[in-house]
Amino acid sequence: MKVLVGIKRVVDAYVRVRVKSDGTGVDLTNAKMAINPFCEIAVEEAIRLKEAGAADEVIAVSIGPAAAQEQIRTALALGSDRGILVQTEEALEPLAVAKVLKAIVEKEGIDLVILGKQSIDTDNNQVGQMLAALLNVPQGTFACKAEVKDGKIEVTREIDGGEQTVMLDLPAVVTTDLRLNEPRYASLPNIMKAKKKPIDTLSAADLGVEVGSNIKTLSVAPPAERSAGVKVESVAALVDKLKNEAKVI
């Protein structure tokens, strides 16, 4: 079984981003960049499948700037076999990303795609579902458990009311939720070994994919700030404020 994982280069989850004063976007100059945390979970899951003998090869793909090589290297250090960088300087919308991934799935003959459920920068939560539609394959989104069984994959999904389990024919697309696994750290020897693993670089055009979109970002603004509140001295004072000032209880 061949597994493809999609990894996105995003700002580190713990960086507090600021909106640019001209309202065109957020200021990422010198910001620490990382693999999207959900993609890290996807990489970990793929490697565990390989270690368990269920997967033969794990390919990590990122669509992004040349610098996304760093995130692909990390995925290789964690145990992926090889990388693909689909290089583009502009940020693509999820549908375009899904189209690029579809082309790679078909070119490589992929049986299982594991993606994150959500990019923590654009907060879209779309690519996996779109890719599944384009490939006409089943989807197991927001997975907290995934098990390959007799040519199928059983996925337990985190849903608003609890959990749901579905059985999917392969090929399939799975997207990861936070509790699917706890990603390992790359060891120094593996980081060294990763330097020799191959990364192919290509463009969307090489794959014959049109990446335009009909969405335009008109402006980006900071959120409304909450005004600073007060500290209360005791539980009694708190209850008094809630009853008589805020009038919420």
Binding site: Q129, Q139, E163, R226, G229, K241
Partner: protein, 308 residues
Amino acid sequence: MSILVIAEHDNGSLKTATLNTVTAAAAIGGDVDILVAGYGCDAAAQEAAKAAGVGKVIVADNACYEHQLPEAVAPLVAEVGKGYTHILAAATTTGKNLMPRVAALLDVDQISDIIEVKGEDTFVRPIYAGNAMATVQTSDPIKVVTVRTTAFAEAAKDGSATVESNAHTVEQSKAQFVGEQLSKSERPELTAASVVISGGRGMQNGENFALLEKVADKLGAAIGASRAAVDAGFVPNDYQVGQTGKIVAPDLYIAVGISGAIQHLAGMKDSKVIVAINKDEEAPIFQVADYGLVADLFKALPELEEAL
């Protein structure tokens, strides 16, 4: 303009998230219809017909839609939705699972999790865990949109839409429903509750959540949690409030033993009144709290229960 709202329901009843979505549809303007896809879902369809301002409820009642698997429902929605300018659903786990699949079938982008309608093609949505608000415009012929329910009030239930059935079926066997483990609770639903009390890592273990429950009982509150509390197994997954969990905006949100990481704030900072109880006076949660109590929660919670 004509807008198709995808109902969220469990066959037997309509979820209120549908009513929030109808309000977002009304803000866009034009005719609003609701699609109810399910099995034995007549009760849900009758409820949907009462949503104010809705012209028509389309019911696709067939065994193939019983568990709302997107492999079956997305082709139906794409088929029915072809005749509309907009397709809207709530940004719940059901809507998030379904709608991008619909958008891809229609070869259009999706706009996720809108909090404001600026015009028929222009919407505001949070990005970067709510640290920025993007205004986006789309020229797609069909606009596929998911709606943050806390940003739109529930539509009234005094309407009388016509109900018509749709016989379209989707045969698929690639995805099969195996089972569901739904958390049962007597408490109000987290995303719709007017009071929410959440616990974090400071609660130390699951048993201690009993302290929160006693306060919640007095306030008629729903119980939530931080990711740390969920990861540690104190409470089930679906308690998680935040960027990647549930978004809540109650009249009163009480954060207990929660530090206030940006990912947590993203899920609750639109609450009307925020209370934080934390023993660390430097905890970032105090920067968004209207009322902060620097105290040991094991002392403060029993006192609070007593005082209510």
